[in-house]
């Protein structure tokens, strides 16, 4: 294992120290591993909290700031944060208008957020659970679809709505609408390696790839021989189009890198994906290409497509200023 670390046990702690040093506009509670905005919102505005296991950077801490999250709670690598961290963060960011918890659908995350909400008392909390990964075919006999790329869309769009001073029920409703009309599918060329174990999370031979992989290396739909970018784009886009009716609405599309794939390949893939979507009658209104929801050093990519309406497009375009997403300011 070759990694830029000092000791496997200190990776998260030291990474947060670096994040704080690089972004003086953020406030980092190192004891509780919470990243806050430096400037809080006006009293009476809804606050947004997200969090989860680390290893998916820039998700979530990279999206704390004007127009997106008020705070992000960091768990250990690939491990949900605990209720006491979530309670502390929720109390601190509540501006008297309630807090929206943005949760990715994983058993541990859902349980820890649920316990936090139960133990909170006094703070109005609403929750949205993101489950956009269509690689999980059987939702009845599994923990259900996983939360992946669409999280960026939910945090951006709901964050912009909160910034406009809308009420909690409205912000939560909008977040749920985004969840209902967005789908993702990912693939891996290589496994990620956890700093703590030093070994690849799963075994993937050189000549093969995993189609439908999860962001913690969960198995996907199938393992197939390596193919061209054009062919891979087809394997990702076709199941997305088969799972949801995208016709008619303008689409927001993200081509996301898993962490170890260079931007030159991600742009190449986006070209292929866009071509397939347009051919299927889906008009790509907005696009985002880069590493946004990663899986440590996994090589590969994921595609997220959201059937947007005018309101979502407007909120997507609204000004945002975070370490990893910034425009209109």
């Amino acid at each position: 294992m070759k990694k830029l670390i000092n000791s496997p046990d200190d990776v998260l702690t030291e990474s947060l120290l670096g994040l704080a040093a690089a972004h003086p506009e953020l406030r980092v509670d190192h004891a509780n591993r919470i990243v806050y905005r430096g400037e809080t919102k006006p009293h009476g505005t809804v606050a947004l909290l997200s969090g989860g296991g680390s290893g998916h950077e820039p998700l979530h801490a990279g999206f704390v700031g004007f127009g997106m999250l008020d705070a992000a709670v960091c768990g250990e690598v690939f491990t949900s944060p605990a209720p006491d961290q979530l309670i502390e963060a929720t109390r601190r960011i509540d501006n008297g208008a309630g807090v929206l918890h943005v949760i990715k659908n994983y058993t541990g995350d859902v349980m820890n957020f649920e316990m936090a909400a139960e133990l909170l008392g006094g703070t109005e909390v609403d929750t949205v659970v993101i489950a956009d990964d269509i690689a999980v075919e059987d939702s009845t006999f599994t923990a259900g679809r996983r939360g992946t790329g669409l999280t960026v869309f939910v945090e951006k769009i709901a964050g912009a709505a909160a910034e406009q001073g809308r009420e909690l029920t409205e912000v939560a409703g909008l977040a749920r609408r985004v969840c209902a009309s967005g789908r993702s599918m990912g693939m891996a060329l290589t496994s990620s390696t956890l700093p703590a174990s030093g070994r690849p999370t799963f075994d993937l031979p050189d000549a093969e790839m995993e189609i439908g992989v999860g962001i913690h290396g969960e198995p996907g739909r199938r393992r197939v021989p390596l193919a061209s970018a054009r062919e891979i784009a087809r394997m990702l886009v076709e199941p997305i189009l088969a799972d949801h009716e995208f016709g008619g609405s303008p689409a927001i599309v993200m081509l996301n890198g898993m962490g170890a794939t260079p931007l030159i390949e991600l742009y190449l893939m986006f070209g292929e994906v866009r071509g397939l979507l347009e051919k299927a009658g889906v008009s790509v209104a907005r696009s985002l290409v880069g590493n946004y929801v990663t899986s440590l050093d996994m090589a590969g990519c994921s595609v997220t497509v959201l059937a947007a309406d005018d309101e979502m497009l407007g909120l997507w375009d609204a000004p945002v200023s975070t370490p990893s997403l910034r425009w209109g300011i």
Binding site: P81, A82, P83, Y106, T107, G108, M115, T142
Partner: protein, 208 residues
């Protein structure tokens, strides 16, 4: 015969010891069908909870088990933290502000803990989770105290938990991370069921 405060302390101490002994074994089970950290997370949580009990020296069962539950919730992480944490928090509420429990009160406290796990994880029998070991153990305890003494009831509960644990090997996981493996999860014992069996083995030893 009532179960004393010292016996409950022994239960926690023995659980702590058994989890630490089984640390690598639990982690190995979890590597096969999960993310390979169950032994590490649970032994960290047990050590933290023992440390809290040692330093705060609670004198009543509700205080002690609330402390254990809250510490597990904040130190274990993942799904097993909230699940075992909820088990002990509900156990504490049911046990109440007492220093000892009658066998019937203990059965009720175990059932309250089990109900907490059900509420938190929404498991069903056969989902290949800790519930497959916990449910038969709690049921065996309740049935056994009707006729036998508390030590024998705890022994039967421990055996039921072990049988439940072993039976998870043949099941397809339908909850948690292992569920994404589908059929590929067959042939492996569920790590949560394995740690639950340790919890009931420790109870049997403490009450023997």
């Amino acid at each position: 015969m009532a179960v004393t405060f010292v016996q409950f302390m022994d239960w926690l101490r023995l659980t702590d010891e058994h989890v630490i002994e089984a640390r690598s074994e639990l982690t190995e089970l979890d590597s096969a069908i999960g993310d390979g950290d169950h032994g590490i997370n649970l032994s960290r949580g047990c050590a933290a909870s023992s440390g809290k009990v040692d330093s705060e020296k609670p004198e009543y069962l509700d205080d002690m088990f609330t402390l254990v539950g809250m510490t597990l919730v904040s130190s274990v992480g993942g799904a097993s933290g909230p699940l075992y944490g909820t088990f002990f928090l509900r156990f504490a509420t049911s046990a109440g502000h007492r220093q000892e429990l009658t066998p019937v009160q203990l059965a009720s406290a175990l059932e309250a803990g089990l109900a907490g796990v059900v509420q938190r994880g929404k498991p069903e029998l056969g989902d290949k989770t800790m519930y497959d070991a916990m449910q038969p153990a709690v049921l065996a305890f309740r049935n056994a105290i009707k006729t036998g003494d508390v030590a024998e009831a705890a022994l039967l509960a421990s055996r039921a938990a072990a049988a439940g644990r072993d039976a998870t090997a043949d099941l397809v996981a339908r909850k948690g991370r292992a569920s994404y493996l589908g059929e590929r999860s067959v042939g492996h014992i569920d790590p949560g069921a394995a740690s639950t069996a340790l919890l009931f083995q420790s109870l049997a030893e403490a009450l023997a």
